[in-house]
Symmetry: C2
Subunit: 421 residues, 2 copies
């Protein structure tokens, strides 16, 4: 089954806001066995929307639209769809009552425009929106489905997850499809590819492996499909077992790199390990300037294992708050194995934690030397028995060097906690 995304909105066309909806929608559709064959973005005008609809239906079974449903835009999408499907509009009391309940719940006065919002095309199957005002709309014509959703990301995501996707799966038999994702940190795509070459070559034809790289990380996604025309009733189970086996095999080939599956993040995984091992953790950050503490505390409940951090950006802070020796700084510099080791020891002491991470480097764009170019980062992790220091040279721009130091820092903690560093 194929789908086309029709993104409606001047604000996207002029580049005022970034369209993050369509990537999310593509992923979700893909997971359910729908292939997105095209996307288009059009202006908030009836002509542009009609033209977009006509183009979209040429190639796809399902057309998903976002945007143009708010009261401020004069409901241009809704009116255009009513015209397109030749549908009268009527006031819809149930929708109005739901909107009234919604506004009561968030403690805001319901705007008068909601009467217009509750006036809807008769031919639409309404998808109730519990997290906003405009409902989604589902139309059918000539065996094709048209779904209109609000452009506000969380409303769109709610309606996709709760209404559109389940209904699409029920309406069309998407080809059976299963995914397994392993998340790795610490090596690039090409190194991983070499290590799993034999595995990749041995994959049966119905299983594909995709490398999805991001900064310092690579997700490995196995996708299993059923290529045969006849689909026996237990296909999904067969696929599941097949993928579970292959995912386990892949994991066993990369035990040092795989930190999680699915939507896991490195900061969650580290947090879970700390909680399980009943350890308190802190950071001593120079070039990352608090970024790693921010990652750690982005996980709800981080206070269970994270009492705090020292951001020691200056040498004085390194000496005063972490007890780094003036001699060490003078002899080896702030970006050195010796300094990050002393920062770990100082953090264990100052923060009274069981395990600490220290990072010191040259984020750039200035401050590099021939010996220590921009992107040089020393990372140390340790407890009261043992401290390990590792050097990396990231050689990217300032923001990326900081992010990479975050990924490699957290991964070092993970490995240390597992006894693998």
């Amino acid at each position: 089954m194929t789908a086309h995304l029709l993104i409606i909105g001047d604000e996207i066309l002029i580049g005022q806001i970034l369209d993050t909806n369509s990537a999310w929608m593509s992923q979700q559709l893909n997971l359910r066995g729908f292939r997105v064959t095209g996307k288009s973005t059009v202006a908030d005008t009836p002509d542009a929307i009609l033209d977009g609809l006509q183009q979209a239906t040429r190639h796809a079974d399902v057309v998903l639209m976002t945007g143009g449903l708010g009261p401020t835009k004069d409901d241009v999408t809704k009116k255009t769809l009513a015209d397109y499907f030749d549908s009268p509009m009527s006031f819809h009391q149930e929708t109005y009552d739901r909107m009234a309940a919604y506004f009561a719940r968030i403690g805001r006065k319901m705007p008068d425009a909601m009467v217009i919002q509750a006036t809807l095309p008769d031919k639409a199957v309404l998808l109730p929106n519990k997290v906003g005002s405009a409902p989604g709309m589902w139309f059918e014509r000539a065996g094709k489905v048209f779904i209109s959703l609000p452009g506000v990301p969380f409303e769109m995501q709610y309606l996709m997850s709760e209404e559109a996707l389940p209904r699409l799966s029920a309406r069309f038999l998407g080809s059976p499809i299963e995914h397994r994702t392993l998340r790795t940190a610490g090596e690039g795509e090409s190194t991983i590819a070499k290590r799993i070459e034999t595995f990749e070559d041995s994959l049966p034809e119905n299983i594909k492996l995709a490398y999805l790289p991001s900064l310092g990380q690579v997700r490995l996604r196995l996708t299993g499909t059923w290529n045969d025309d006849s689909i026996p009733p237990n296909t999904q189970e067969v696929l599941r077992d097949q993928l579970d086996a292959k995912a386990a095999e892949l994991h066993a080939l990369l035990p040092d790199l795989v930190y999680g599956t699915g939507e896991d993040t490195l900061e969650q995984v580290v947090g879970d390990l700390l909680r399980k091992q009943n350890l308190q953790f802190g950071t001593a950050e120079s070039c990352t300037g608090g970024y790693i503490a921010h990652l750690i505390t982005s996980v709800p409940g981080a206070s269970d294992y994270f009492p705090g951090s020292i951001v020691s950006y200056s040498n004085n802070m390194k000496m005063n708050l972490l007890g780094v020796q003036a001699d060490t700084l003078a002899q080896f510099g702030a970006v050195s194995a010796q300094t990050v080791r002393e920062m770990v020891a100082g953090a264990l002491n100052t923060l009274q934690v069981d395990i600490a991470l220290a990072v010191s480097g040259i984020a750039g764009p200035n401050g590099g030397t021939p010996d220590k170019p921009v992107g040089t980062v020393w990372i140390a992790v340790g407890n009261r028995d043992r401290i390990v220091a590792v050097k990396h040279v990231f050689a990217r721009d300032r923001a990326k060097n900081i992010q990479l130091a975050g990924v490699y820092g957290l991964n070092a903690v993970r490995k240390f906690l597992l006894g693998a560093l």
Copy 2:
């Protein structure tokens, strides 16, 4: 003049990567007087590209394509364009030499595939790519222009800025257009709209005001165009003067909210103020967990005014490192005016800085109470003479509450430095 963006790439269609190119391209085209009337995303296949080209040319004078130029994708875009424009391909020595020089410069062996990369359609005007291998290509047919660019963001941006945009301006007389952007923090769209209602109503017809909200911030963009058919030679200057005057008028109406112009960020503006006033600054962070220190240190050269921070996530850290009194915590709680005031005093002392910011709140999703719901955040800023504390209730999700605390915290520092808090 109108433009259509044709984004070529399976990786965008399946949602594997976010298309950030097209928003940037729209903005740049818009600044030069080209209106983007549509965008479409198609698969890496000749059929999909040809179909996309046909649709694109129906509505636009200029078609800008990105992607499908790399050697790994078998150059499908280039071959398809050669077919579409009925152009033979030949090896292009100059391009090959430039690629060889490029690979020599980055110290990498030139791959064999570069011979294919240097084989190009004869009918294309080549746009030399100094930051990568594949050149851009410019075709013309029936008065319309077709530009093909690599999909790698920095290569695309280089070729747009250095080649495509200047050539487009020379080829078409874009309508004169000028923009001025004021950046505000601390109030929402509707409050600002009320305060500048009279100003907005008084704007001449050729100047439009756009509200561009993001988390805790609103950009106000004035756009001036020339609507008349006759364009006198000094139009651009007239527009410039007109917009400068209106931007100054707008700024004067919102002196407390406007923190910068154009691409300024709050952390840059705060950093510049600190440097000018020769002050050292530090943070004491609880619920923001190092996020504000991270923002401050994302600006190159932050070490001039920022020696460090204390992330005091636990009560113990607040007491041990910042000298917050146990009584204060017991009586008023960690999220209180009293606690953030003591955190500021402690940070001034521990970090030996001239001015400090402290933040303590309930980021969520747990930890809220009827008195202090999730999103309650106390912010204090002060020096050795004076400490000011302010309460906010953001009531968003964890990540957004942290980001909002960052924006409001930095804005409080800005106002304090300007004597406005």
